[in-house]
C-alpha cells in the first residue's frame, strides 16, 4: 500500500477501487454480449477486443483490491452478491440494439475518460500508475465511439431515431456515473480522488454538450446562472455506488458467475 493512503482512508479507497473496477467489469461483460453478432466481422473483432480491454482494466483494479484486502481477485470478481457490486446502473442495462450499445459506450467512455485522466494524478500511486496506462488505451475507444456516433447520427433516419431514443433513455443512467461516492470527502482530502465527482461531471458535460449539440442529439443540460457550469435537466439515477441495482444486474450476475459458483474452491 502506498504511503499516502493511511488506514483511515482504506475503506473509502476500497469503495473507490470497487466502483471503478465494477464499472469496467460489468460494461465489459455487456459489450462482450455483442461477440458474434456485431454488424460486421471487423466490428465484431474490434468491439470484442474493447470488451476485453475493459475486463482487463477491471482485473488490474481487482488485483489492487486483492493486495489491500488479502481476498483473491477472482473471488472479488465472482463471489460477491449483486448487492455488493458498486457499478453505476448505466453499465448493467440489458443489451438492446446496436445504437443503444454505441450510445451507452460513448456516454460511458467519454465520462470514464475524464475520470481516468483525473485519477492519473491520484496520491495513491498504484492507482495513478494504472490509470496512466489505461488513459492511452482509451484513446482508441474514444475514436471508435466518435466515428460510430457520427455515422449513426447521419446515416439513415432509422439509425438516427434509434440513437436519439437510446441517448434519451440512457442520459439519467449516465449521470449516475458521477454519483458521489461513500467516503468521498476523505478521498478528496487525501488526494486519492484528485477531483470530486461533481467537478468531474461538470468537466465531462463541458466536453460532450457541444459535441451532441453540433450533431443535434439529446444532451439534457443547461448552464447554471450562478456557477456558469453545465447542470443536468434530468434527474440522475443514483444508487449504484451504494449497491442498489436494477433486476438487470441480477440477471447478468446469474450468468456471469455461473461457472465460478459450480465450485468456488476449484483450482483450474
Amino acid at each position: 500500500m502506498s504511503d499516502n493512503a493511511t488506514n483511515t482512508d482504506t475503506t473509502a479507497l476500497q469503495t473507490l477501487l470497487t466502483a471503478l473496477a465494477d464499472d469496467e467489469f460489468i460494461l465489459g461483460y455487456r459489450n462482450s454480449e455483442w461477440t458474434g453478432i456485431a454488424p460486421m466481422l471487423e466490428e465484431d473483432v474490434a468491439f470484442s477486443s474493447m470488451s476485453q480491454d475493459e475486463i482487463g482494466h477491471a482485473r488490474l483494479l481487482y488485483q489492487m483490491l486483492a493486495e489491500l484486502t488479502g481476498t483473491p481477485a477472482d473471488r472479488i470478481a465472482y463471489a460477491r452478491e449483486p448487492g455488493e457490486f458498486l457499478n453505476c446502473q448505466l453499465v448493467e442495462r440489458r443489451k438492446l440494439d446496436w445504437a443503444h450499445a454505441i450510445a451507452r459506450y460513448f456516454l460511458y467512455d467519454t465520462a470514464d475518460h475524464v475520470r481516468v485522466e483525473s485519477l492519473t494524478r491520484s496520491s495513491y500511486a498504484p492507482l495513478a500508475n494504472a490509470m496512466q496506462k489505461i488513459v492511452r488505451e482509451e484513446k482508441y475507444h474514444l475514436m471508435h465511439g466518435d466515428i460510430w456516433v457520427k455515422r449513426l447520427a447521419g446515416f439513415s433516419p432509422d439509425a438516427r431515431e434509434r440513437l436519439t431514443s437510446a441517448l434519451e433513455s440512457l442520459w439519467p443512467d449516465a449521470l449516475g456515473m458521477f454519483e458521489p461516492l461513500p467516503g468521498e470527502a476523505e478521498l478528496v482530502a487525501s488526494g486519492i480522488l484528485p477531483s470530486a465527482t461533481s467537478d468531474m461531471q461538470a468537466e465531462w458535460l463541458e466536453q460532450v454538450a457541444p459535441y451532441f449539440e453540433s450533431l443535434g442529439l439529446p444532451c439534457p443540460v443547461e448552464r447554471d446562472a450562478s456557477t456558469g457550469r453545465y447542470v443536468p435537466t434530468v434527474e440522475p439515477v443514483y444508487g449504484g455506488r451504494r449497491g442498489e441495482h436494477t433486476p438487470e444486474l441480477a440477471e447478468l450476475w446469474e450468468e456471469m458467475t455461473s461457472v465460478y459458483r459450480l465450485d468456488p474452491e476449484a483450482v483450474w
Binding site: 460486421m40 466481422l41 471487423e42 466490428e43 473483432v45 474490434a46 477486443s49 482508441y140 471508435h144 466515428i147
Partner: protein, 99 residues
C-alpha cells in the same frame, strides 16, 4: 464495402510489409479496423491503409518472368576467355618448340 490492404512498418526506417487486409465501408472505418487488426499489439510503428482498388497491379509473366534467353554475351563471365587463352598459349608454345 471495400477491401483495404494494410502495410506495416515495424520500426522507423524499415520497409513496409504487407500485413493483410480489412473490409470496411470507408477509409475512416478502415483505419479503425486496421489499427485493431494490425497495430494493437505494438507490432507496428506505422501503418499504411490503401484501398485495394488504388493498387496498380502488374502480374504479366512475360514482363516479370521473361523467357530464359541466353544473354551471357552481355557480361564478362559469358566469355570463356581463360580457356581460349590457355588453348592459344599452348598452340604458340607448341609451335615455338625447336625440332
Amino acid at each position: 464495402m471495400a477491401v483495404f490492404e494494410v502495410f506495416q512498418q515495424a520500426r522507423e526506417g524499415k520497409a513496409f510489409e504487407h500485413g493483410g487486409n480489412v473490409v470496411a465501408p470507408d477509409a475512416e472505418m478502415a483505419i479503425l479496423y486496421a489499427r485493431e487488426f494490425y497495430g494493437r499489439r505494438q507490432e507496428a510503428h506505422r501503418l499504411w491503409v490503401v484501398p485495394r482498388e488504388c493498387i496498380v497491379e502488374i502480374n504479366d509473366p512475360d514482363l516479370l518472368h521473361p523467357p530464359a534467353v541466353d544473354r551471357s554475351y552481355r557480361t564478362v563471365g559469358g566469355y570463356s576467355v581463360r580457356d581460349t587463352l590457355r588453348a592459344t598459349r599452348g598452340a604458340v608454345a607448341g609451335s615455338a618448340q625447336p625440332d
